[in-house]
Symmetry: C2
Subunit: 211 residues, 2 copies
């Protein structure tokens, strides 16, 4: 995602403004119904300005998915004393973005509704699973996670689990129950894999994050 630098100064801001206006349109209408002219109007730029940054509507959508991934990935940390608490906090941050950030909302909607984007989406799932597996490995090393389920299996199921939780919460309730639903996911997971001596501490982290 390089930004043209030939038009110095305003260019990065304008590109971001287009991206965010497009995200609002995609989140509201879906990919099919959104139009370049509607995006231009919402971003208060000319259609020519949009074509300077993006060749097609599909290119805008891919940039929204990229940006969604960058914003959500930023939430993941690896350096706290409790790797699992860090992952719980990261999921809380991402849930907040799903409630409030049009780019993140649109990125998820676009990835789910259109197979045109499944190439990009697929590699992002791979990255997410690899990162979450790493966190579970650190959690095993830190003595938080026991031997009931491998870090590989935990990472491979937590990513789709969160994906499904936010999706079903969106379809059933426009995400009003997203925070308690993610909290339930972590409570089930804590009972499945956290060692008994650490479980109450982790459950308290979950309660605090998703209260």
């Amino acid at each position: 995602m390089t930004t043209p630098t030939s038009v110095a100064g305003r260019t990065p801001d304008r590109r971001t403004a287009i991206l965010e206006a497009a995200a609002v349109e995609f989140d509201r209408q879906g990919f099919g119904a959104a139009s370049i002219s509607g995006i231009a109007k919402a971003a208060e730029v000319s259609q020519g300005a949009i074509h300077f940054h993006f060749r097609t509507k599909q290119a805008i959508a891919l940039a929204v998915i990229d940006e969604q991934n960058a914003r959500t990935f930023e939430a993941v940390t690896y350096d706290g004393p409790s790797p699992l608490a860090g992952l719980v906090e990261a999921s809380r941050t991402i849930a907040g973005l799903l409630l409030d950030d049009p780019v993140v909302r649109a990125g998820i909607r676009l990835s789910l509704e259109n197979r045109v984007f499944s190439g990009a989406t697929s590699s992002f799932y791979d990255q997410w699973i690899a990162s979450v597996v790493d966190v579970f490995r650190l959690a095993v090393a830190a003595g938080e996670v026991g031997p009931t389920v491998t870090p590989e299996a935990l990472g491979a199921t937590v990513v789709p689990w969160f994906t499904g939780v936010q999706l079903v919460s969106d379809v059933r309730a426009a995400r009003v129950d997203l925070l308690p639903a993610v909290g339930t996911m972590w409570r089930v997971l804590a009972h499945a894999c956290v060692v008994p001596a650490q479980r109450d501490r982790l459950l308290a982290v979950v309660d605090r994050a998703f209260a």
Copy 2:
């Protein structure tokens, strides 16, 4: 879902043939790209025959979603000696339908990709969650599930979990890893909520179902 009976004999078969041909088209191309004329050609009927049964392409899609729900719901049983083993077997049957039955594949794709259908989809999720909660209540009564997580919370998270598992398996691997991925879900769940005395038996059921 009443079937017109005025044209006796052939009508139900022809309606099913249209539905199944439409499902193949929807599963392959998505709702937007599928056309009534393409469906008519695939079903080897006239477009007039399609309009006799369905007013619009959207009505066909809703009928596919209804039929998907009916076929998957049929897998759930409540009367075995082990309610949780029954649910594991039901999820195995549904995973098989997701691999092999175009109506089930198309129904899931349509529900996920188009918010036009989220009204229907939402009420199906409600029904699924209510049914799975019932199974977990029976499993508590049967002494399989302990007090770590309530049946309500288990039902509310297992349905989105399965939804996410099949979705991510579809995006990443065209569902070739669907069976082991669903098996992993059940293994994590068994460690989270099944009482220790029943856990090995349940894990063996999972291993057998998803080997």
